[in-house]
Symmetry: C2
Subunit: 400 residues, 2 copies
Amino acid sequence: MSNKLKGNAVVGQSGGPTAVINQSLIGVIEEIYEQEYINELLGAVHGVEGILNENFVNLKQIPRKKLEVVARTPSAALGSSRMKPKQEHCNQIFEVFRKNDVRYFFYIGGNDSASSAHIIDNLAQEAGYDLKVFHIPKTIDNDLLVTDHCPGFGTAATFVAQAIIGNDLDNRSLPGIKVDIIMGRNAGFLTASSVLARRYEGDGPHLIYVPERPVNMDKFCNDVCEVYDRLGRCLVVISEGICDEDHIPWAQRIQKEVEADAHGNVQLSGSGALAEFISVKLKEVLPGKRMRTDTFGYLQRSFPGVVSPVDAYEARYCGRMAVSYAAKDNTTGSVCMQRFGKDDRYRVETFVTSLDSVAVKTKSLPDMYINEEGNNINESYYEYVSPLAGPLPEVGFLRS
Amino acid sequence: MSNKLKGNAVVGQSGGPTAVINQSLIGVIEEIYEQEYINELLGAVHGVEGILNENFVNLKQIPRKKLEVVARTPSAALGSSRMKPKQEHCNQIFEVFRKNDVRYFFYIGGNDSASSAHIIDNLAQEAGYDLKVFHIPKTIDNDLLVTDHCPGFGTAATFVAQAIIGNDLDNRSLPGIKVDIIMGRNAGFLTASSVLARRYEGDGPHLIYVPERPVNMDKFCNDVCEVYDRLGRCLVVISEGICDEDHIPWAQRIQKEVEADAHGNVQLSGSGALAEFISVKLKEVLPGKRMRTDTFGYLQRSFPGVVSPVDAYEARYCGRMAVSYAAKDNTTGSVCMQRFGKDDRYRVETFVTSLDSVAVKTKSLPDMYINEEGNNINESYYEYVSPLAGPLPEVGFLRS
């Protein structure tokens, strides 16, 4: 025990909430109970903002039973933050750590959080202050580098699949054109997960568009018409980050079109605009048909009651392993997962990667998962996403 | 048995799907098994359209095990229809019934379905053809007259409550302004059900707007600013049918504003437009604040995996009772529910009302449930809606 780094620990949560980000937090708390040489565990309220203001919750005082309820609660229980700390903030954070004898810092978040953690780690090294920093991955977008997949993604994929199963049943019942817009501005992993909803002959989604593969509105409208002519209905899943051939997001293009048309008096903000204009364009090519566009929005990241047990387990495991790597192995870095086996034999092991290898950049949906025409997802993606998702409800039909 | 009306039966589903409309269908099938003098049970594919085209499924041939899976499946398993049959269609339907020796007709749907059933019943009476017609209520809007509440509503209310719990957790985690748009163009029952999400101090929704109480955009913006100033965040729930002081729906007003502004080149279709323009207006009064608007859309009526057990039971019970009233009591009408007792002692009994008492007109959210200012729902509504909803997930916080 004598060569162990003694002192306090800080844990924080950052970026968009997920359904299992609190599992990672509870994983950190659990594992810290085991490390006797770590005195206090301070929970930073609203991430880096909480550190800057020294607004902490003493996490060792929370009853165990309560922690289990928190673990099952979506969203960041400590509060999250969108703040990207600048160099001077990082200096200040480091001073707070030094003042409070903080020797361990665990930061649950995406690639921006990894960047912040990396800067703080560098400051500590420069100052000769012994600090172990660990980033714990979290994102429904699944776009972090190095790791096979990210905690939070499996549950979001389960929600999307479940929602699309419902939308497909709805569309079978009252045939028409239905377009669902899925989160993920730059990465198509979550949108592609809608393939999980295809289980029976004719099941939608019939078309899937991800941001990695540009598509223009004419091609899109033609695709929808073709499916509608063939099946008498069409369920389309589309990423909010869908781009045209100039790699300009549709949402942005639409904004410009409207502003030009309305002489600057109408401004679009994003949330409903893409849905709205897809409806309008499709109505032009399919007049008089039943048409509806829904944007699933925040439900994808914070709907309580739908969870992937694998995702919940892995999120907690990553939290525990971060503490173990930092406290037992005296290392700094980001927790990654590697998968072994598939289907029933699926399992993961964790390993450590450097903070800078996860910081700043993001991962795209690999090209091999996207069909040649750029309007669907290949069967092989099912193998990737299926073990990460939770069980999906069985459904029954009466018509052929 | 001799005085029983012998022949075949037809069952159909109509209007927007719900999560439990198939429970009512299975209820009809179950109870018809018990009536030996009813020969065939024909399921009309896509409601009245299936009857007109004589497109039927023989429902007595479906294995019992499969029926139980269908019962738990959202959306209309036989297919639904938005068609409002005109007099000549009703004549044609009546001819199909006569040709196929149909003596019982069960129609699961809203007030339009009750109207169709009423017209067909009148035709049979005029022709001296002995036909028993029963309407089985179904609507997530809960806007049918006479009955205490409608099958389908309780589950939709559960989904809305669960979604708002998640959105409130999300909003606590990353404070800002969040607006969620709920279904129900004319009736505020579903929007008002978001009160179920309030369980702890400070829980949202902080403001609730229903279509029954007009509000202008300035008052709305002031309300949001007031809550935001006080709490540092604001979760708003708003009906898609929200109206201004001239009783013109916002969605319609917005359409006109944009069309005028854009010289007719921009058209709005509804699904994203209301969300979009609420965002724009709020950004004008609260510039630079986190702002997001989501429209829950079809998820409210067809999300699989979230169900109110009470609603599922009652939907099936209404289906069974329709057959019992028609076949055993030789009556025609619509099934209604009456409640006795509250909380744990809540239970319902069914009774029959005439088809015309349910047809055409709809029910509004009673005024006593809306607060004086018209921006919130009174505590008393909780008592009305709570027994109808399913259990909601427990959540935990770490901050005060």
